[in-house]
């Protein structure tokens, strides 16, 4: 992974090195249709945070404003840019964008574009405009929401590549004195067939920089793609097989010391007292600190620090949360739901008259579902390395929002944003967890307090017990069917709503009367985005209840969903594909079952069919068929890997995942009591992709997750007649 370095940027800059650097300006009055949705309403010109650099060695550098946590963003985004640019893939390099701030004046924008330099003329117009709005619209450097390819890639990387190509062509046409229309490009070369001229892009880089930036660069139609749609090998993989890939935890700073930490078990409590008598005398121990909300031991090595920490006896202040255990929490959910009754709570969506339709329904279906808190359990435990000295602060970590991390570090250090240098590394799993700043703040506080460069590493126990959890939830449904078994009403009330807002809604199902409500229930635990966020709960709730309605209607689950999706061509194509792949109509052996689930999320449409073997002591998921429409899949192998990955992440939660509370504290601590799916439990996964709309792309990292839990529980029902309404499955006996 290339790293941002000022010197490299300046050295290769337009002014100094004769290389071409392109950012894309889009004039609000003349945007391409593709760019319209992200343009802010502000005046002037705006800067897209997508960049490409043509080096004098003809290397094309794609500057990627997202982080790599295994989702393949670096490769897919570079593919999009390189394809539009007709770049030679073998000579494309990837650089992660630096951490810059979205809340400061556009002087920072200038700093981003050309630090310590006069801004090159081609870029000048881009700086003046609404940098802030664009940054926010583009989600600069926030990697999440399955956004990278469908947002940044589709709207910015492609445009940057196309613009760069057009400028190079214009420069060559001018130099050769031929019409632009006679010039072709391929493999980072400009060609003129009539004269037989052929030169590398680099030759025209400086001249291209003199060209005005095209206001509306022409993007390729899919039949012209040479890289997009191809399963190109990920560029980050080689470093991940020989041990050379650096993750946050691998930061090496001269003279650094190691910190082990233990936070108050109940979030919100403080450390009132601690007995560190034994720890003080242990080898390697340098400092023992009561940081208020956590205890830390700083030592020459991490193991020494952790061993010493384990001997410290701390007492904590009491909090409101102390009394809460799991049963009380779900009882609280029930109380709030009961209080909301048939009409209370906050209405999220409403259409028709649910009460009337339900009252008149021939068949009434009711059900209640529950899911627990979940931890992220990234393989790389939370960590951060920080050094505060001479009014400056350096921070090393792997974070989903380098910008957010830099801001948090500045606040924790009590320094200005400009005085903090943030160094991002590969993320050993993100899944939402690495969008939080708690680890950054703690390490900076420790570095400030101790004066050492500090590498703080959380034990797995700390990582499990101090997460920002996927919220637990209870969800209640009432559904009405007419005498022919058609769905006429859908009513849902559930606890909590986090993000995205549409997660509990079912606009794709044709049900004339529907109403969806929520009640907010206070809890002391910290919540955070967890792969697919609210779709992870609501996918299970919705697709379980649809299945229950199908059963009540005396219909097959696939056929019932077909009726609900009538008229939605892309939706039906995906549902049909999954059914076809699985041989839906073929009988299963005794004790085996098939279940289907359909969840559109993050712009992608996904159906899954799970095959479950219920003949043993516990459910065994044998095979999962996935049909996916993400508009246009840029890297089919990378997308398939995301489907496989999301299924395992979701299946782990379905089978085992539960974070529970006792006396306000999380009870689980490590992989023995928060178990993970392992290779011997891995189902076969088969993926088919339908490219349904090349103009509007869907996400890849998250949408594969929501359907797996209901596909499995629906399969269990098909095999056994037993309906699972609470996850994880380990809570249910199938004896």
């Amino acid at each position: 992974m290339g790293k941002w370095s000022r010197r490299a940027f300046i050295g290769a800059g337009v002014v100094a090195g004769g290389a071409l650097v392109v950012g894309v300006a889009v004039r609000p009055g003349n945007p391409t249709d593709e760019l319209k949705p992200i343009l802010a309403s502000g005046e002037g010109e705006e800067l897209l945070n997508a960049w490409v650099k043509v080096g004098t060695d003809n290397a094309i550098t794609a500057i990627i404003p997202h982080v790599e946590m295994g989702q393949g963003a670096f490769t897919a985004l570079a593919q999009m840019l390189a394809d539009e640019m007709d770049a030679d893939w073998a000579n494309v390099r990837i650089l992660e964008a630096p951490a810059i701030d979205q809340y400061v004046s556009d002087s920072i924008g200038r700093e981003f574009i050309a630090p310590n330099l006069e801004v090159p003329e081609i870029l000048e117009p881009t700086v003046a405009g609404g940098f802030l709005e664009l940054v926010q619209a583009m989600g600069l450097q926030i990697t999440g929401g399955s956004f990278s390819v469908r947002g940044t890639g589709q709207r910015a990387m492609r445009t940057a590549g196309a613009a760069a190509r057009e400028m190079l062509v214009a420069a060559a046409a001018s130099e050769w004195d031929v019409a632009e229309s006679e010039i072709t490009t391929a493999n980072s070369m400009v060609n003129h067939a009539k004269s037989g001229k052929s030169e590398p892009y680099a030759k025209f880089a400086a001249a291209a920089a003199e060209q005005s930036l095209p206001a509306k660069p022409k993007l390729k139609s899919p039949d012209k793609y040479t890289l997009m749609g191809k399963p190109i090998a990920r560029t980050d993989i080689p470093a991940k097989v020989d041990g050379s890939a650096d993750f946050g935890i691998d930061a090496k700073v001269p003279g650094m010391k190691y910190a082990a930490v233990k936070a108050a078990p109940v979030v919100g409590a403080t450390v009132e007292a601690m007995d560190a008598t034994a720890a003080k005398t242990m080898p390697g121990v340098l400092q023992i600190l009561n940081m208020g909300d956590f205890v830390a031991v700083v030592a020459d090595g991490y193991w020494q620090a952790q061993q010493a920490l384990n001997t410290i006896d701390a007492t904590y202040s009491g909090t409101e949360g102390d009394k809460l255990d799991n049963a009380a929490l779900f009882k609280r959910y029930d109380e709030y739901l009961n209080e909301a009754g048939t009409d209370g709570g906050d209405t999220e969506t409403e259409e028709g008259d649910v009460s009337d339709a339900f009252a008149r329904a021939a068949t009434k279906v009711e059900a209640e579902y529950k899911v627990p808190f979940l931890a992220h359990a990234t393989m790389e435990p939370m960590n951060c390395t920080a050094w505060v000295r001479d009014g400056k602060c350096d921070v090393w970590a792997g974070h989903q929002s380098p910008l957010g991390a830099r801001k948090a570090a500045a606040e924790a250090a009590g320094l200005d944003f400009e005085d903090v240098s943030y160094h991002n590394a590969y993320l050993g799993g993100g899944f939402g967890r690495r969008s939080e700043n708690d680890n950054i703040e703690m390490a900076v506080r420790l570095a400030k307090a101790t004066k050492y460069p500090i590498k703080m590493i959380w034990s797995r126990e700390e990582d499990t017990m101090q997460d920002h959890y996927r919220p637990s939830a209870t969800s209640r449904f009432e559904g009405g069917l007419d005498k022919d078994g058609n769905a006429v009403s859908w009513s849902n009330i559930h606890t909590h709503l986090f993000d995205p807002q549409e997660a509990p809604t079912v606009p794709y199902y044709n049900i004339a009367n529907h109403k969806i409500r929520k009640v907010d229930v206070p809890t002391h635990l910290r919540f955070g985005p967890w792969r697919s966020v609210d779709h992870s709960q609501h996918g299970f709730f919705i697709e379980s209840f649809v299945d229950e309605m199908a059963v009540a209607a005396g219909k097959d689950g696939y056929a019932f969903r077909r009726e609900l999706l009538a008229g939605s061509k892309r939706h039906l194509a995906i549902l049909d594909k999954a059914a076809e792949m699985s041989g839906w109509d073929k009988p299963m052996p005794e004790g085996h079952g098939r279940g289907i689930a359909f969840v559109p999320s993050f712009g992608s449409i996904i159906a899954q069919v799970a095959e479950v073997d219920m003949t043993g002591a516990k459910p065994k998921v044998k095979k999962v068929y996935v049909a996916a429409d993400a508009g246009f899949v840029v890297n089919p192998d990378g997308f398939t890997a995301q489907m496989e990955s999301a299924i395992v992440y979701g299946l782990t939660a379905t089978l085992y995942g539960e974070i529970s509370l006792k006396d306000g504290a999380v009870q689980q601590s490590n992989f023995h009591d928060y178990p993970m799916l392992r290779i011997n439990e891995m189902p076969e996964v088969e993926v088919e992709i339908i490219n349904g709309d090349h103009k509007r792309l869907g996400g890849g990292g998250e949408p594969g997750l929501p359907p797996i839990a209901p596909a499995v529980t629906n399969a269990i029902f098909a095999a056994t007649g037993k309906r699972v309404r609470e996850l994880p499955l380990s809570k249910t006996s199938f004896a």
Binding site: A233, V241, K252, M379, R460, F671, V687, E688
Partner: protein, 167 residues
């Protein structure tokens, strides 16, 4: 001072003999390819070889490495940088996502194939079930092991042969 043989090189470290191999390798020897995952031998991210046998380095004191050869992921490739068969297969099958567990996965797979050049699915399961991959790349790990064993051919283009794309 404890004298060690790490990836064929002799090293001396001044540490408490109870220190787990993991932290000696990562901190004293500054070889960070071996990863910390759980600290209780539950996830396999820290797997290294002691005399060719896979051990969980987070839970194995450095004293047990006395007189034995430690091999880490950094020691698998040939001196000229040529990757081992297992490492190359890991690229061919596009196994890693975040990549954090993969050093341990590769060390476990290397040990498996050394003793059992043509493992069955069951044998792969039992050798690899101690290694957690949170990105869920188990299907690809199985494929890569078979590619390294010569039991499967790598796909001509990268990745899963089960993927079909319709326009």
């Amino acid at each position: 001072m404890i004298k060690l043989n790490v990836n064929g090189q002799t090293k001396e470290v001044d540490v408490d003999p109870a220190t787990p191999i993991l932290w000696v390798v990562r901190e004293n020897l500054e070889m960070t390819g071996t990863k910390f995952g759980c600290g209780i031998a539950q996830c396999g991210a820290c797997t290294v070889h002691l005399d060719g046998k896979p051990v969980r380095s987070c839970s194995t004191p450095i004293s047990q490495a006395d007189g034995k050869a430690i091999t880490t992921v950094e020691g698998l490739a040939a001196e000229d940088g040529t990757l081992s068969k297992v490492q190359q297969a890991w690229i061919d099958a596009q196994v890693p996502q975040c990549g954090y567990c993969q050093s341990g996965q590769i060390m476990s797979a290397t040990a498996l194939l050394k003793n059992n050049p043509q493992p069955t699915d069951e044998q792969i399961n039992s050798a690899m079930a101690g290694n957690v991959c949170r990105c869920g790349m188990y299907g690809r790990i199985r494929s890569a092991i078979k590619i390294a064993a010569g039991m499967e051919q790598p796909a001509t283009e990268t990745g899963s042969e089960s993927t079909k794309v319709e326009a």
